[in-house]
Symmetry: C2
C-alpha cells in the first residue's frame, strides 16, 4: 500500500514545468465548469504522515485555483459550543455546496487515526468507527459530494531528512511541529495506523490515494491530478450496501396511524387542569441542573390540520423563551438544495440546556418527498438508515430525541379544513397543497407506517398521537415529554 511512496519517487524540474502549465490551466477550467454545472460538490480529505508536505501542497493548490470557490479548513480541539453538538457537527458546517470545493485536514478521521496509532489499538472500536465513517461517506456520495481522500506518505529516512533540513534554518525551524518530531520515533506505529485506517475506510465512492510526499514536485503533480479527477471525472457509483447502522428498533405493536372518527371529547376544566400540571412538570425539568448537560429535540410530523402548531405552542408555553426555538420546515430553499438534505437540519441543533422543536422535519424525505415522487425510490429508501444514523449522533451528544406523529381521522380533517376556510385568520393555513395531500391520504398513511416501522428506535422513539380531540392529543404529547424527562433521572 505504501511501497511506492516509500521509494520516495521524484520527477525532474523539466518534466514538472511541462506538466505544471497544463495542470494549472485545466484545474481552473474544470473549477469554472463545475461552478457552471453544479452537478457535484468536491470534498478533498487530506491526511497522512506528518512532515510529508500536506500543508504546503494544499497551499499551492489554493494558489493555483480560484480561491473564492474553494474552502480549506483544519480543525483543532472542539470549542465549548462544538463540544455540545455531535462530533460531526463542525464537518457538516464545513461541507461545500454543489459547484464548490472544500479541503479538510483529517476532519472525521481524527478519532480513528488516534485510536489506530495507540500502542495496542482497540480493533473493535476501530471497526465501529470505520463503519460509521463508511456510512457517512456513502451518504455524502449518494448526495453528489465527490470525496477524494489523500494520504501523504514517505520513507522514514526522507521524513527525518526533511525535518532536519527545516530545523537547521532558524527561518524555517518554527514550522516544525511536535507532531513532525514525533514521527521520527514512532514511524512504524504511524505507518501501521495508516494502513489500518486506509483499509477500513476504502470505498469505490470515497477512495484513498497514497501521495508520495518526499518530492515536492511529484507530490504537487499527483495532488493536482487527484483533484482534477474529482472536479470533472465520472461520479463513481455508490456501493449499494453501506454497513448496516447499529440501531435497535422498538418491538412493534400494530399501529393505527389515524384514529377512527369520533372518540370522547375532554371537558374544558379537566383539560386546563391537567395541561397546567404537565406544563409545571416540564418547566421544572427544563430548569433542572441535570438538563443543563442535555438538550431536547422534538420532532412533530403528521397530517395537515392534525394540530402540530397547537401542540408545539403548549410545549413552548412551559419553557423560557430564551431556551427554545421552533423551526418551521417547508420546502428547502435554493441554497439548501445545494447540500445533502440533512444539512439544513444539522445547522439547527441546540446547545445543551436548550429545546428545539421541529414543525415538520427531516422526515419530509420519507413522507412528502416520497409520496410526491420528488426524489427517486432509491433516495428515500436509503434515507431511513441515514436518519437513524443522524439521530444516533444526536443522542450520543446528549440530546433527548422524541418524535411525534399527530393524526386525526379523515372526517375530522375535513371538518377542520372547512373551519379554516371560513375563518378570516385561519384561512392562510389552508393551501391548495393541503387539499392535494388529502387526496393522497392512503399514500401518506403508508409512508408514515413505513417511516415509523423503520425509524422507531430505542434511542429516538416515535409516539403516535392519533385522536380527533385536540385537547386529548395535546395532553398526550406533553405527557410523553414529561415521562421521557422523568426517565432521565
Amino acid at each position: 500500500m505504501f511501497e511506492r511512496a516509500e521509494l520516495d519517487p521524484a520527477i525532474d524540474e523539466e518534466e514538472y514545468e511541462r506538466r505544471e502549465l497544463a495542470l494549472r490551466t485545466e484545474l481552473l477550467q474544470r473549477q469554472y465548469e463545475l461552478l457552471e454545472k453544479r452537478d457535484r460538490a468536491v470534498l478533498v480529505v487530506v491526511a497522512g504522515i506528518d512532515g510529508a508536505g500536506k500543508g504546503s501542497t494544499i497551499n499551492l493548490l489554493n494558489e493555483w485555483m480560484d480561491p473564492r470557490h474553494i474552502r480549506t479548513q483544519a480543525f483543532g480541539e472542539p470549542t465549548p459550543e462544538e463540544a455540545q453538538r455531535p462530533a460531526m457537527w463542525r464537518y457538516w458546517n464545513a461541507l461545500p455546496a454543489r459547484g464548490q470545493s472544500g479541503i479538510v485536514f483529517d476532519a472525521w478521521y481524527t478519532p480513528l487515526l488516534k485510536e489506530a496509532a495507540r500502542k495496542s489499538p482497540d480493533m473493535e472500536r476501530i471497526l465501529a468507527m470505520a463503519a460509521r465513517i463508511r456510512r457517512f461517506e456513502a451518504m455524502l456520495a449518494a448526495e453528489r459530494v465527490r470525496i477524494v481522500k489523500l494520504w501523504y506518505h514517505l520513507s522514514r529516512r526522507a521524513q527525518i531528512a526533511r525535518i532536519d533540513e527545516q530545523l537547521a534554518d532558524p527561518a524555517t525551524a518554527w514550522r516544525v511541529s511536535e507532531a513532525d518530531l514525533r514521527v521520527r520515533k514512532r514511524f512504524k506505529r504511524l505507518r501501521a495506523a495508516g494502513r489500518i485506517v486506509l483499509e477500513a475506510t476504502q470505498a469505490p465512492h470515497a477512495s484513498w490515494r497514497v501521495v508520495p510526499g518526499a518530492d515536492a514536485r511529484l507530490r504537487t503533480v499527483e495532488t493536482a491530478s487527484a483533484v482534477l479527477d474529482a472536479l470533472a471525472g465520472p461520479l463513481p457509483a455508490v456501493a449499494r450496501r453501506a454497513p448496516p447502522p447499529a440501531v435497535a428498533l422498538r418491538r412493534h405493536r400494530r399501529l393505527a396511524m389515524a384514529p377512527r372518527p369520533g372518540g370522547g371529547k375532554l371537558d374544558g376544566d379537566a383539560y386546563e387542569k391537567r395541561l397546567a400540571s404537565y406544563q409545571a412538570q416540564l418547566a421544572e425539568h427544563a430548569r433542572s441542573k441535570r438538563f443543563q448537560q442535555r438538550s431536547l429535540v422534538l420532532v412533530f410530523e403528521g397530517v395537515d390540520a392534525a394540530g402540530k402548531g397547537g401542540a408545539i405552542r403548549r410545549v413552548a408555553h412551559a419553557l423560557d423563551v430564551r431556551h427554545f426555538r421552533i423551526v418551521p420546515v417547508s420546502a428547502p430553499t435554493g441554497e439548501e438544495r445545494a447540500y445533502p438534505y440533512l444539512w439544513r437540519f444539522w445547522r439547527q441543533l441546540p446547545l445543551h440546556g436548550r429545546v428545539c422543536m421541529f414543525d415538520r422535519s427531516w422526515y419530509g424525505r420519507v413522507l412528502v418527498e416520497r409520496v410526491d415522487a420528488l426524489i427517486t425510490p432509491a433516495a428515500w429508501r436509503r434515507a431511513y438508515a441515514e436518519i437513524n444514523d443522524f439521530e444516533d449522533q444526536l443522542v450520543r451528544s446528549g440530546a433527548l430525541v422524541l418524535k411525534f406523529w399527530l393524526s386525526v381521522s379523515r372526517d375530522e380533517q375535513l371538518r377542520r379544513f372547512r373551519e379554516r376556510r371560513e375563518s378570516p385568520f385561519k384561512s392562510f393555513k389552508l393551501t391548495p397543497d393541503d387539499w392535494r395531500n388529502r387526496r393522497k391520504w392512503g399514500e401518506y398513511m403508508d409512508a408514515a407506517r413505513d417511516m415509523v416501522a423503520r425509524t422507531d428506535t430505542l434511542h429516538a422513539p416515535w409516539f403516535i398521537v392519533a385522536h380527533d380531540d385536540k385537547r386529548t392529543a395535546r395532553l398526550q404529547v406533553l405527557e410523553h415529554i414529561v415521562q421521557a424527562l422523568d426517565d432521565l433521572k
Copy 2:
C-alpha cells in the same frame, strides 16, 4: 410618560372581540404583503416592567401571525463563544431579513437597563451607552429595518396583584420569576430606570411606545396595532444626525495613495531572508499565550492587481491552518442584500486566538459602491461613521484590527494586467470589471483618500502600502502586522 399606563386602563370583552377579528385579519394580510414587497424588515423590541405581561402577549402575537415569517428571540447570559465577539454580535445574528419580522426581548438594552436600575446610576456611562444604541438604530433604520420598541408598564398595585394571583395557583406559580418578585420591592427604582432609558433612546425612526400591561385585552390590542403600523405604515425618515461616533482619527500625513512609477526592486535573496524572519515572528506571536485572549482582523483593500492575494498568502503561510480564515469579498448575494450591508461581515468575526483576513471588505461600501453609484451619496456618506462604530466594537471585544491599502502605479497595473492576460492560469483573475475600474482610476483614488481620511482611527489604523515592487509591498504588510503585535505587549 407612564401616567396613562399606571391608570391600568382596560377594555371590555365585547369591544375586544369586535377588534380582535379585524386585527388578526389585518396582521396576516400585512404580513403577506410585506413578504411580497420586501421593502423593509420589521424588528420589535420588547421590554418593560417584569410581570406586565410581555411574554404572554408576544406568544399570542405569534399565534395570530404566520409563525414561519416571524422569529422571536430572547437572550440569556452570553455563551463562551458569544463572549468572544462584540456584545452586538448575537443581535446582528438575530436580525430579520427584508420581508420578515423579528421580535427580541430586551436585547441590546440589557446593559443599559441594568445600569439605569442601579441605586446610583452612572449617568455618564448611561449617556455613552444610549448614544451607541442611537447610532446603531439609526443605521438599521437607514437600512430599512423598521424598529418598534414596546415598553410594557402597569401600576405597582396591579403588578403585585397579578403576581399574587399567579402565585396562589400551584399550576401557575412556577411562571413567576425572581425578576417578577423583585419588582414588588423596587418598583420605584425600576420605573425611574425605564424613564431614563426611554428618554435617552427615543428617536423618530425608533420610537418607544408604552403599552399598559394590567389588562390582557388592551395590552393585546395595543401591541397588535403597533406591529401593524410597523408592517405597513410609512417608513419614518431617519434623523439626519445620529450622535457623532467617539472615535479618534490619526493625525494625518499627506498620503500618496499610489506610488510613482519605478522604485527599487528588492533582491530575491534579501527578500526571502526578511520574509522568513517576519513570518517566524508572526508565527511566534500567533502561538503566544497572550494572543489566545485576542483575535486579529486584517483588511486588504487596494487597486486591482495590487497584490492583495499574494500578501494574504504570505501572512497565511506563517499561521496554523486551523486558526485563520481568508474571506474573499465580492458583490453581495441575494440573501445578503436583504440585510443591512454590514450583516455579512458580522457573521465572519473570529473567535479569540484566530485570524480573519478579508480580501476586500466592508470598505466596498465607500469604494466600488460609491464610485459605481450603486448606492446613494447619503448612504456612502453615513457609512464612514457606521464602519468606525463597527470596528470600535471589534476592538472592544479584543480584536486587533489592521487595514491595508495596497496600490501600484497606473503603469505597473497595466503591466500586470497584460501579464495576466497572457498567462493561461492568471487570465481568470482579469475581468472586464478590472479594465472598467482602471478607467475610473482617479475616482477610485479620490474615494480611497476620503476613506482613509475618515476611517484611519487610532483603534483601527490604515497602512498605506504603495509600491510597484511586490516583494517590498509584502514585506511592508508583514512588518506592520508584526509591529502591531509587538506593541500589544
